[in-house]
Every structure is written in structure tokens, then in C-alpha cells.
Symmetry: C2
Subunit: 387 residues, 2 copies
Amino acid sequence: MSVVFARGFKANGLACGIKENGDLDLSVVISADGKPVPCVATFTTNRSAAAPVQVSKDHLAKSNNLMVGWILSSGNANAATGKKGVQAATSMCDALGSELGVDGHYVGVCSTGLIGIDLPVEKPLAKIAELVQGAGEEPRHGDIAAEAIRTTDTFSKFATYEGSGYRIGAMAKGAAMIAPNMATMLAVITTDATLSQEELYDALKEAVDESFNLVTIDGCTSTNDTVVLMSSGLCQADEHFRNGLKAVCKSLADQIALDAEGATKLVRVSVKGAVSYSEALMGARKVAESQLVKCSFYGEDPYWGRVASELGSAGIEFDLERLSVSYQGVVVAAGGVAVDFDSKELALLMREREIEVVADLSLGSYEATITTTDLGPGYIEENKGTS
Amino acid sequence: MSVVFARGFKANGLACGIKENGDLDLSVVISADGKPVPCVATFTTNRSAAAPVQVSKDHLAKSNNLMVGWILSSGNANAATGKKGVQAATSMCDALGSELGVDGHYVGVCSTGLIGIDLPVEKPLAKIAELVQGAGEEPRHGDIAAEAIRTTDTFSKFATYEGSGYRIGAMAKGAAMIAPNMATMLAVITTDATLSQEELYDALKEAVDESFNLVTIDGCTSTNDTVVLMSSGLCQADEHFRNGLKAVCKSLADQIALDAEGATKLVRVSVKGAVSYSEALMGARKVAESQLVKCSFYGEDPYWGRVASELGSAGIEFDLERLSVSYQGVVVAAGGVAVDFDSKELALLMREREIEVVADLSLGSYEATITTTDLGPGYIEENKGTS
């Protein structure tokens, strides 16, 4: 389903040979009539931004945010590949544009995979005609497109929202190098709701800030993160569009966290009672990115002392004597010291797949939540080599 | 040897029962004649600073940096223990002071171990008389004191320096919650060189900044970090004192990194060619604290793409096209792209215990080096439970 749920879009996916094992590795999402449509995107803030990010930004600027579609490859990030990388990304856009009868700057490109290795661009180029010819609006076309952007993802990720007449559909990938600073993964979202480029961008920015940017797996901001939103404009939008878009982005963000490399837990870290939202966020992020705290999640151990220590070094206003901490709703510390609780009951609750930790600073009225995972041997196994 | 290498100090260690397995857990370092001597210290910047840190700061202020000695316990950090914790730390100082015939505020206290659990203070209190009576100036007294401050340390850490007549001796502990922000571990350094409190403090501050503060294991700043420097003033100092002190601190810092929980590699991450020292340091720290980069070290994989990605998101001036990266002296990337190298030769070099990574930004003339470790399953095994 994914990106073809909204009317007016075609998609497809196939194996072009970037992945040596023959897995699917090339996707396309295009407007159904082959004409450019309003399109906005947000990108990684990493200064090592990959060639596809550089080229796509340039194309969005040249086309005044009108795009006919996006070409996405997996298995090689085309990052840290210099001028050759930029040429490769540009040639992929040119090839898709040529196939659809438009200039290459009406096309965007995303790549994900290994960094620092030249993309064998002749492989995707040789398959673009076949990819476009096979593209369609059936659910299976959306499914195969979502499938072909996976790298170490164990399942393909998509989300849909049905409004009053209009629809939003989306696909995403992401399993590591996940940290909140823009998107830290790839996502393509389509809608048939009619909105201006400004409205689309505002809605996307807000949705990304409240979803992908509140997930951190390892504190590493990828070189290739891109979230794209295209609108075919075939239906009327209404005042619920922004919330629908947020729901879609939140669903994708949760799926990415759930599928994080080697993780066994999805953890919501909330900091309450902060003096400002930004301090609540800094505190929650410091706790959520702490290797020691994440090891405790893996061990299902409500070791709140590590949470207190991270909050104390988060650079925010903090008074240990006011701190209370709960795991799964069970208060384990209050007034900065341990309190009695039913440890057997909590041990059972800590076995759940999803863990909720709440630290109340009791200093103000602001609250923020970051979604993260545990840190276990699976993450190391997955990442000890080039992947 | 350790803290009794310098003349004018006694030390001792014993098991008082904080550690339930009966291991050594209580140490003392005191001036040999039982009179207060010049003493300076640096402490954690964590706002969850533990009770012993709060009490020791207060005592140094009250005594105008004159101390008769320090009492150190291991197994329980006396952190996040509220007013009871402060009372416990104070009573340990009072007991040692009383034993030596001085006010409690001439005594400092350090604790290390579990956070958020009340210290069973009656146990150290019951043993302080025995601890002082057994204290001496023999090498074995220094050895047992260094032994008794260990927690998950697999070996005890000490360093000595012999100047022109004067000496410096030191012991330290530390194996996790190691991040550069003050000291992130416990160390007691003694010297018989005569210096004013101001000279001692300046020398200590500089030595700590250039040693302990350049080590990061997990980015976690402990609640209890303390580095103490006491001078008996029995000998003349000379102009080499500061360098001697630095050498002692660097040796202790390396020992801490080598003994980091579950680590298999000691890694020096250098960033060269930065526009300022602080940017070089920020870049090196971002790389050294990256979970993904550290997994590569564990896997002995020179995956420079992750280094480039971390530098690009470090918030420093950065131009990927100018970046070159080497592992063990072998250049793997130049001008922001991969270059050919002998991968078999480098694979052999990556097997060494100590790894050197140099990233040259080619933007300026500043350089900084951070010492860190790899991230492997051992770290997780050690930290998944309360430890």
C-alpha cells in the first residue's frame, strides 16, 4: 500500500544489482500522470550530507518545489563519494526525468547504505526504464517500493491516513544512525490533498519535529536523511490534514525505533516538571542517549541512579532533592532518594517490549518525551563491521 | 607504592563490609605526622553530585585547603541518598578527624559504587580506628589502599614521578561512567614538594584538563568524581613539578581507559587541521563517543565513513572534500573519498590493543586527541544490571 494509498501516484521496486545478494534495491515514486506536482522535503543537518541530499536540495530549488517523482536506491549511501557521487546522483535524476519526458531537476534522489564507497551507478541506470514501465497504482506497487528501500531493516515500514475524502500514504526505512536532528532516515509521503507548497512545508516541518526528531537510537545523525512529501492535489484538504500527517510520521518513527538494529525494547523517556520545553527535551535526550541507561533497559533493570546522574550532567536546571523517577508507572525514587516498591511486580512489568520511564524534575511545568531503544549485544553484532 | 611514594604520607586499606563479598572497601591516606597539610581537589560537574563531593567541597572551604587526610570507600557511591547521605559522609570525616585529634573539616571523603542506595555507614565507622592504627609508609600500605578503592576495576591503578629530590605518588580507580568533564573517577595524589595551595591548584587543574578530561569511555559523567592532591612540603619543588604531575595523571588516565568495563581496545582519536583547539576537541569527542564508531573499533574495521559522518554532525567547521582519515598511520580516505590501501596490512595493524585514528580537517592548524575504547559485548554484560 504505502505511497500509492493517496490517489495520483505510481510506485515500483526491483533489484538492480547494487546489493550483491540480489535483494530489491531500487524504488521509484512518481506522479501518475507524469507531470510535476508540489513537493517539499526536509534533509539531514549533517555537514557530510551525501550526494543525493545535495542534488535533491538543488533540484527542489531549481524546480520551485515541483517534482515529478523520486528515485531511491539502497545498499550504498553514495555518501563521502566526492564529485563522482554528485555526478552519479544527478545522472539517476536525469535518467528518470528523461524516461518521463521532463528535465532532471524535476526529480529527487535518495540513497541509503554503506558510506564512502563509490555507487556503481550503471546498475540503477540500466534499470530505470523497466522500473518506470512496471510502476502502477495498485497496493502491490506501493509494497514493493517500500521493500526495495530497506537496508538492515527487518520489515518494511509504511503508514496511511484517511481524511474527509483525501488520503495520506507513506513508506520509510531506518534501522541505525538514528538521532534527532532532522529525520535520520528516508521517508516518502504522498497525499492527494490540495495544499500550497508553503502549507505542505509547514505541515511537514511540524510533523517531522514531533515524530522523527523525537527518536534517538544511537545519537548518530546520518548523512542521507530525507523526508519527502508530494501532493497530487486531486482532493480537498481540511483542517485535520496536519494531524493526519503527524499521525503518519509518528507511526513511521515508532516502526523505525521498533526495528532498530539489535534492539529488544522500545523505550519512552519523559522528562516532566522542567523550566522550559527545550530543557525538558535536553534532559530526555541525555537520558535516552546514555549508553549506561540503555544497557539497564536491556537488562530490564530500573536503575534510576543512572537516570539521576545523566540529568545532573545534562546542562539543565536540576535539583536532585526534587527528582522523582518511575518505570512503567511504578515510582522508584522520590525527593532524590530511593523509595520502597514491589520489585517483583516491577520486574514483571520491565519484561514488556515497551518501557516507559518518567523523570519529574518538579521545577516547572514543561514536559518532553524521546523515543529510544535499549543497547544490547545485537546492536554491536550488527555494527561491528561495515554495514 | 602509590600514595606513599612521596614522603610524609601514610595509607591503609581493609574490608569493612560495604561489599557483601568481603572484598577490600575502605582506604585512608593521611599525613604521616597527623597534622593538616596543603590540599587541593577538583570535583565532578554533575549536578547530582554525591554526598561525599558536597561534604569534601565544604570541608576544603572551611579548612582553607588544609587537610589531614582522606577516607575513601568503595561498593556504594553514597549518591542520590539525600540528607542521610550527607550525614553519613560527614560522620566518616568526623570519625577520622577524631581518631587523629583534629576537627572533621580537616578530612575529605570519597565514595564509589552503586548509586541511589543508602550507605551502611556504621560499617566504615566501626573500622576507622583499626584503619588508622594499621596505616604506614611502606609500599604495601600504598598498595592495599589502592586495592581497596576498586569497584569493577580489574587491576589497581597507581603512578609515581621522581623529581630532583621531591616525589609524586598517586592511586586511582575508574572503569565506567567515564567522560571528560572534570575527572570522572577517583584519584588521590600525594607529593612532598613544597608549593602554595594556589600553585598546587593551578598545577592540578592543568594536569586534570590534559589527562582525565581527555578520556571518554561512555560519555557519562559520574556523580562522584574527585581528584585530590596533597603536599607534605618536606622537599623543594622545581620547574618540572607541573610536568611530573601531568605525567602521573596521564598514566592514571590511560590505566583507566585500558581497564574500561568490557573494552578490548585503547583508542586515540585525533582531529587535526581544525580552526580552533575547542573545535578540534569537539570533533574528536564526537567521534570518540559515537556508538557506531566504537562498534567499528570492536570489529577492528577501519570504517572511516562513520568518522566522516560524526565530524559532519559535530557542530564544527567542516568540509568533507578536505577530509583525510588514517587508521594506524594508513591513509584510508583523502579529499573526502576512499583511497586505495593495503587492506591486509591494515587488518593486521587493527588487531593491536592500541588503535590510532587521525582525521585531518585541513582547515586550520589546531589539533586535539581524545582517548577512548571500543564498544563490545563486554560493556553491555558489565552494565546491563545495577553495578
